[in-house]
């Protein structure tokens, strides 16, 4: 064998080996899989469809794979199983996920329930429920906490009312049957209860930030692809702004993508308060704000509630859970432009 041929073989092997390593190193940057995000059937989440349909994700250079999951629990399970990189989730559930060992980062506060959650019942105001039975969708659940927080605002405590565990879809019938005096109802069951003549005693607007919807990602996804996460947040903000300008167009997109009627979309969005980057920065992700509009504050209260009632075993570190980096960075970018 010619000596030159031998050298050629040896160097070819060495080069091959190096190439192999380089490929592994580069593959993370070059062949990134799309980020899988789960959407629950909660209308504000559909802004993500707008971001996708209008090419905001693409424009911002992020590849996103959106999946609409009909059952909320399935979506949460998919997230905890790791099938999804991120999920639009109720903040309290993000806390449960995080405290049960699934490292999570809340990167964006999409909306808060204003009219989407309400305590309906007999009587004229919430103080009328004292000593009466009140239905909640799960003892020691967020529903329970929402009612307790609402009661707290009118000076009532846990001992002042009797709680009854009633699934939300049964509240109206239980009210009608007189088994409960009031109950926590949320969209779309509110309309039905109102039709039956029950009155709204309190809404989510009274306790802002308690029932709030966030975009959460697994911590490793955030750690590995921060730029992509930032671009998603940016796209969501752009979609929110776009919605304000092209409401009809975007409602059509959301309707088409989700299969809900335009009316449902409109109602769904009307029941919440949509947040943008500025709100996120000023309120949701403001660590120093001592009110429940801050995810830090509401998170601590929810966590305390869950821990005391054995729902979670450990207090989550809310500072670890809420990640304001992207919101802040984007805002800084916007300001400098």
């Amino acid at each position: 064998m010619d000596i030159k041929l031998c050298y050629f073989f040896i160097s070819a092997i060495v080069i091959l080996l190096f190439c192999n390593h380089i490929n592994i190193a580069n593959s993370q940057n070059v062949n990134k899989p799309p980020l899988k995000i789960g959407l629950t059937v909660w209308v504000p989440n559909f802004l993500a469809f707008v971001a996708q349909d209008k090419g905001f994700f693409k424009k911002n250079g992020v590849d996103v794979n959106l999946t609409l999951i009909q059952s909320y629990n399935d979506a949460v399970n998919s997230y905890s199983n790791g099938d999804l990189n991120g999920v639009f989730i109720v903040y309290s559930d993000a806390i449960i996920q995080h405290s049960s060992g699934i490292d999570t980062k809340v990167v964006y506060n999409v909306d808060s329930s204003y009219k989407a959650d309400a305590i309906l019942g007999n009587g004229n105001n919430l103080t009328d429920v004292k000593g009466k039975k009140i239905g909640v969708d799960g003892i020691n659940s967020l529903s329970h906490f929402f009612v307790l927080k609402s009661l707290e605002r009118v000076g009532l405590g846990e001992g002042d009312v009797q709680f009854v565990n009633v699934p939300v879809q049964n509240i109206t019938s239980e009210l009608q049957g007189g088994k409960i005096f009031a109950g926590h109802v949320y969209s779309p069951f509110i309309t039905d209860a109102l039709k039956k003549g029950f009155k709204i005693l309190s809404t989510g607007a009274s306790v802002p930030g308690i029932i709030t919807n966030v975009l959460a990602f697994h911590s490793d996804a955030v750690g590995q692809r921060p730029q992509d996460i930032q671009n998603i947040v940016k796209s969501m903000d752009e979609a929110k702004k776009d919605y304000e300008i092209n409401k009809d167009q975007d409602i059509s997109i959301m309707s088409k993508m989700s299969g809900l009627s335009k009316a449902d979309i409109l109602e769904g969005i009307g029941n919440v308060k949509l947040y943008d980057l500025g709100y996120n920065n000023q309120f949701s992700m403001n660590n120093h704000l001592n009110q429940t509009t801050s995810l830090y504050k509401s998170g601590s209260e929810i966590a305390k509630f869950y821990a005391e009632r054995g729902v979670i075993s450990e207090y989550p570190n809310i500072s670890e859970l809420v990640d304001p980096v992207f919101v802040n960075a984007l805002l800084k970018l916007n300001n400098t432009r």
Partner: protein, 652 residues
């Protein structure tokens, strides 16, 4: 087979085999150690988890015992509302309960920290029945509470009044997600396995097979699963295995899963255990996919090592064989006589040394060879020069010879011409002299005239003889003398010769004796006239030398000693011939210078003619030197016995 091929054939399989063996042993050992590591790890994890669970259960047992024993719940002076607030504050402190309820002695729920389903009667419930008996109870299987719509483990204990009378029951609902939390945070003591990944299947089952917790199949919780039942029955997991004694060596490789179980054993302190069993399974496929990766890597590495080894072997083989091949080629060239091409092998090993020594040898050979060549060249050129000299000498000689031959021819021509020209006038001169001597026509001559004419006549005759002899010799020399050879009987021949000879000496007083000793049938091939001439010459020669009165001539004929020829001898009693003169006598015009001779006639050509005739007959003539009493001429003629008779006319 060449050295390179041999090296390759031996080394490559050797390298292959050794790398394969090393890899195989390495992989097998690695797999085994990984397997046992994982089993040990799983065991530790199982033990730790069960220990943690038992401690947690003990704490709950302690809580309910405390609530049962303290006086607050049984104190009639404390309102129910205050009691509930007390319980709520305790809940907040313990952070373990969904709710705590108080029942009166009839089984009605009179208080609940969640204010749920107050007034419900749970008298028939097991927790109540057990509490009535005065026991602290905990449900071994989680139950779904109507009030919370949750699965909880109920801890119940009786409440006694001051006089130890039964007042009611306190129930603490411990949600199963608290158990989940224990298992959610599995700690791998040695970090050998990724316990939080989905690779480990964790099932906590009650002693009747109900799944209390499952980390991979949440829907199976509080159900039984045939898969788990089979596992339990197959491996006969003993629920009374002692956890403290670390007696959890039920590590069984169940098909594709590594399988470890741990029972609760004796529980922890006051908590005596619920008879739960923890089953940990790790999918070997998942575990060994890592191993497979490592195996693949090692195969990849081995392949590279093998490739590099092959290249190195090829290089080594080449390194070894190339100089040898080169050397061999050079040796072959050297064998064919190429001493000039240098053997250059740049190697410091034995082959290099061999090549160097061989090159020295080649140089020596080259030197010797070139010296030899030089020498040969020198000799060749010398020979060439000598040859040229010889050639020129030969040319000279040839030239000289030619000149001599020409001169000889001229001489012979001259002689012949002279003889002929001499003879021509002699014939008429002799004729006229004979006429004069007959005295018929010329008249009678006086004595004086007669004497003078006679002298002239005799001298003319002599001259004629001489001229004839000279002509004969000349003819002999040029080969023009004619012979008419016939087979002649020796006896007949000798008779004829005797007759002739006697005529020759008729008036002389010479005793002529003939001795013919040959066989009567002996023949020779001869020209009888010429043989007679020979005898005539020899006898005449003897006659000239024998004494005048007592002359004696003896002629003998006999077979020669060789038996192949006839020897003829002519002896006389003359003065003899000196030995030193004997050979010269056969030369032309040679006569022994004696007074005697001169006295007698003789041309000096007689013997020359005899020699020519004898030699023309294939014989020899010589003077017998041993005969000292006179002269003796001997000649031989080859015997021709048996040859066909008849004439031959041969010209020599």
């Amino acid at each position: 087979m060449k050295i390179r091929s041999k090296l390759i054939v031996i080394l490559i399989p050797l390298v292959f085999l050794s790398i394969f063996l090393i890899s195989y042993i390495g992989v097998v050992n690695f797999t085994r150690s990984i397997q046992s590591e994982i089993i040990n790890e799983l065991k530790l994890v199982a033990i730790n988890l069960m220990d943690k669970l038992s401690r947690q259960m003990f704490e709950r047992t302690a809580d309910i015992t405390f609530l049962s024993n303290n006086n607050i719940l049984s104190n009639p002076n404390i309102t129910l509302s205050e009691k509930m607030n007390y319980l709520r504050s305790m809940e907040r402190a313990v952070k373990a309960y969904s709710s705590i309820s108080i029942y009166n002695k009839s089984g009605f729920k009179i208080g609940d920290t969640r204010n749920v389903l107050i007034g419900d009667n749970d008298y028939q419930q097991k927790f109540f029945q057990e509490a009535i008996k005065g026991k602290t109870y905990y449900s071994p299987i989680p139950t779904l509470t109507k009030s919370l719509n949750q699965y909880v483990i109920q801890f119940s204990a009786p409440i006694y009044g001051k006089n130890k009378e039964f007042q009611g029951v306190v129930v603490a609902n411990y949600p199963i997600n608290k158990i989940n939390d224990i298992f959610n945070k599995i700690i791998s003591p040695r970090n050998q396995i990724d316990v939080n990944s989905n690779l480990i299947k964790l099932d906590l089952i009650s002693n009747n097979g109900t799944i209390i917790y499952s980390n991979y199949d949440r829907k199976s919780i509080l159900h039984t699963k045939p898969e788990i039942q089979q596992l339990v029955s197959k491996h006969m997991i003993q629920s009374d295995l002692n956890l403290i004694n670390n007696n959890v060596d039920n590590s069984i490789l169940n098909g594709t899963e590594l399988f470890v179980s741990a029972s609760q054993g004796d529980g922890y302190l006051d908590y005596k255990g619920s008879g739960w069993i923890l089953i940990l399974r790790e999918n070997t496929g998942a575990v060994f996919s890592d191993v497979q990766n490592i195996v693949n890597q090692s195969i990849f590495a081995s392949t590279i090592i093998i490739i590099i080894s092959i290249i190195i072997i090829l290089l080594i083989a080449r390194n070894i064989s190339t100089p040898i091949s080169k050397l061999m080629k050079k040796v072959i060239e050297l064998g064919k006589g190429d001493y000039y091409s240098k053997i250059e092998i740049n190697s410091s090993d034995e082959i290099g040394e061999l090549a160097r020594q061989f090159d020295l040898m080649r140089q020596e050979l080259n030197k010797v060879n070139s010296n030899l060549n030089k020498l040969v060249e020198e000799r060749t050129s010398e020979l060439k020069n000598a040859n040229e000299v010889l050639k020129s000498k030969e040319d000279n000689l040839r030239k000289l010879n030619k000149e001599l031959i020409n001169a000889d021819l001229a001489k012979e021509e001259f002689m012949s011409m002279v003889s002929h020209e001499l003879k021509t006038p002699l014939v008429p001169a002799r004729g006229y002299l004979e006429i004069m001597l007959r005295q018929k026509k010329t008249g009678i001559l006086n004595d004086k005239q007669k004497k003078f004419v006679d002298v002239i006549y005799r001298n003319i005759l002599k001259l004629e003889y001489l001229v004839n002899d000279v002509l004969e010799v000349y003819k002999l020399d040029i080969g023009k003398l004619r012979f008419s050879k016939k087979l002649e009987n020796i006896n007949d021949l000798m008779k004829s010769i005797e007759t002739e000879s006697r005529i020759l000496i008729m008036d002389k007083k010479i005793d002529l004796t003939f001795k013919v000793l040959t066989d009567k049938n002996d023949y020779i091939l001869c020209d009888i006239k010429r043989i007679e001439q020979v005898f005539s010459n020899l006898i005449k020669n003897s006659m000239d030398f024998v004494p005048l009165d007592l002359g004696k001539i003896i002629i003998t004929v006999d077979r020669h000693e060789d038996g192949k020829s006839i020897k003829f001898s002519v002896y006389d009693n003359g003065p003899g011939i000196p030995a030193e003169e004997a050979d010269n006598l056969f030369q032309k015009f040679y006569q022994i210078d004696t007074s005697e001779t001169r006295k007698h006639s003789g041309t000096g050509l007689g013997l020359v003619i005899c020699k020519g005739i004898i030699e023309a007959h294939g014989g020899k003539i010589w003077i017998d030197k041993e005969y000292t009493t006179g002269a003796s001429f001997v000649f031989t003629i080859p015997l021709a016995n048996g040859n066909e008779k008849g004439g031959l006319d041969i010209t020599l």
